[in-house]
Amino acid sequence: MSQDPDLTPAASDTRPAEPTSLRLVTALSLAGLLSGIIIVSVYEATLPTITAYQARMLREAVFEVLPGIERIQRLVYRDGILVAEDAEDTDDEAIFGGYGGSGELVGYAIPSAGPGFQDTIRLLYGYLPSQRQVSGMEILESRETPGLGDKIYKDQSFVDAFRGLAIDPEIRAVKKGTASAVNEVDAITGATISSKAVVRIINEGNQRWLARLAVPGDQPTEERPEPPATGG
């Protein structure tokens, strides 16, 4: 150990034996205060980068699952209708509307989540109401088995199977090489459970959202995009 003459362990032990509790409280509060200040300032400094990254990832995912759109708008379901809502601080579930060049609605990007083989899989899929088809699927978050289950996003042919996939009566995952109907996808060999989980998560998303999208009073989304404050 150290042989430094001025700061041997004995030196630190010769401090006053019993400090008052006021001193203890002061020391801890001071430490807490300093810690708080540092954390808040770092948080404030990094927040814009972090949120910008997350928003960019989400935007990219929306454009990925809804090919051919020009602009997107965040929509929430409130009081029985879909309304445009950019603020993310409400608890409402949100989906994204994708619009073509002339402002017409192309489709919706719907986030959905559910249990996979290991942990929750979160994904985003595009839905085209006019054709009642899924137009694409992107996994946002998953911890599926590397080398097997992670093929749900690494295996391009599996991801591609979700382009132009009919949703009626419901999507089904079938054994590799046997997908024949328009609502069937080939499950990944060795990752049947993960493949079926993806399909089930999309079906659940459909159950939750399709009725809301078809709400009468029609196209609440088409009138909304007029305000240009959507930051496209």
């Binding site: 080398g147 097997l148 054994k175 060999t189 060795g190 049947t192 459970i193």
Partner: protein, 344 residues
């Protein structure tokens, strides 16, 4: 552990000397496995032979490398590493790349036996540890089954066998489903006669039910294995399979299929009865066997895999010390009461 054949026995009566030693038991096992091994090579060709050689070589080499120099000769000579390598090789698919079979042999002896302290100290069956390692490491290669080549094409090697070390194997479209795979994923049964003589795809040594049973009978008569273990496993599976078959014959296979398909016979006779990793008391043997049978049925019928013998045996291996502890025979002259109070 150090002393092989003690000259002087110091033990209480009965002083009946049993001429059974490790090397003799291992020789019996080799003899019992010979018919099924030859049948496997006959059915699957030269590739199967090479796989067996590779896994045995991996096992022996690991044993040699990691044992202290003065123990090497004796340990290799008692044949236990040879048996482990052979059992592992017989439980591998015939189209597996040879380097994987070799690696499996290394894992069997290294992870399955030596790190526990050598023969007699391992908790899990070494061959199954090697197989579980391979299945977890190379799930695709370990579940790709080639069809039988038959004696006519004996020298035709599958290109996948010869994949370079660490490299991916190319399967030239010879994949074929095992009877259990057919049942699980296509609800298709296999004729009983093919299951009995072994004209199905599967692991090298597991296909021929008849020869496996013959070897098992030989071992049982030589007292090399506790007959209660295979019998209780097979009975449990048969009874549960009958119940399920009676409930819904369209969904579940008949009990004879359940017993003869897959690696149940092979696992029950040669893997589960390993004296090191199974309970020593008769009552414990029954509990162990029933546990394995129950787990096999659960995994096969309600789990994601078509076959579950390997995991069932490994799980029950883990429970063996506990079973041994609770199935100790009552000391003569002591009532249950006194035994219990003795513990407190």
């Amino acid at each position: 552990m150090k002393q092989q054949d003690p000259r002087l026995l110091v033990q209480p009566a009965p002083l009946l000397k049993q001429p059974l030693t490790t090397s003799m038991a291992m020789f019996d096992v080799l003899l019992a496995l010979a018919p099924a091994t030859l049948a496997g090579i006959w059915f699957f060709g030269l590739g199967a032979l090479l796989i067996l050689l590779a896994s045995v070589a991996g096992a022996l080499l690991t044993e040699w490398t990691f044992l202290p120099a003065d123990q090497r000769r004796g340990q290799i000579a008692n044949g236990s590493a040879l048996v482990t390598g052979l059992l592992l090789g017989l439980s591998l698919p015939p189209s597996l790349p040879l380097w994987m079979a070799f690696l499996g042999g290394v894992a069997s002896i290294g992870l399955g036996k030596l790190i526990w302290g050598g023969l007699g100290y391992n908790l899990f069956n070494p061959a199954l540890v090697g197989r579980a390692f391979l299945l977890a490491a190379f799930p695709v290669a370990m579940t790709t089954w080639s069809a039988q080549t038959g004696p006519a094409d004996f020298f035709q090697l599958a290109s996948s066998n010869l994949a370079a070390p660490l490299m991916h194997a190319d399967y030239d479209g010879l994949s074929s489903a095992t009877p259990l795979g057919l049942m699980k994923f296509q609800q298709e049964s296999t004729p009983l006669w093919e299951l009995v003589i072994g004209k199905t795809s599967g692991c090298i040594g597991e296909t021929s039910g008849l020869l496996l049973i013959l070897g098992g009978l030989f071992l049982a008569f030589r007292r090399d294995l506790d007959w209660r273990i295979p019998v209780s496993i097979l009975l449990t599976v048969a009874i549960l399979a009958t119940l399920l078959f009676l409930i819904d014959p369209t969904r579940y296979p008949d009990p004879i299929f359940a017993v003869f398909a897959g690696s149940l016979l092979f696992g029950a006779i040669y893997m589960a009865s390993d004296p090191v990793t199974s309970p020593i008391t008769p009552r414990g043997a029954w509990i162990f066997g029933i546990g394995v049978g129950l787990l096999v049925v659960l995994i096969r019928y309600f789990g994601g895999f078509p076959e579950g013998v390997m995991y069932a045996i490994l799980l029950m291996n883990a429970a063996t010390p506990l079973i041994d502890r609770y199935s100790q025979p009552r000391v003569f002259g002591k009532g249950l009461e006194s035994a219990r109070s003795g513990h407190e």
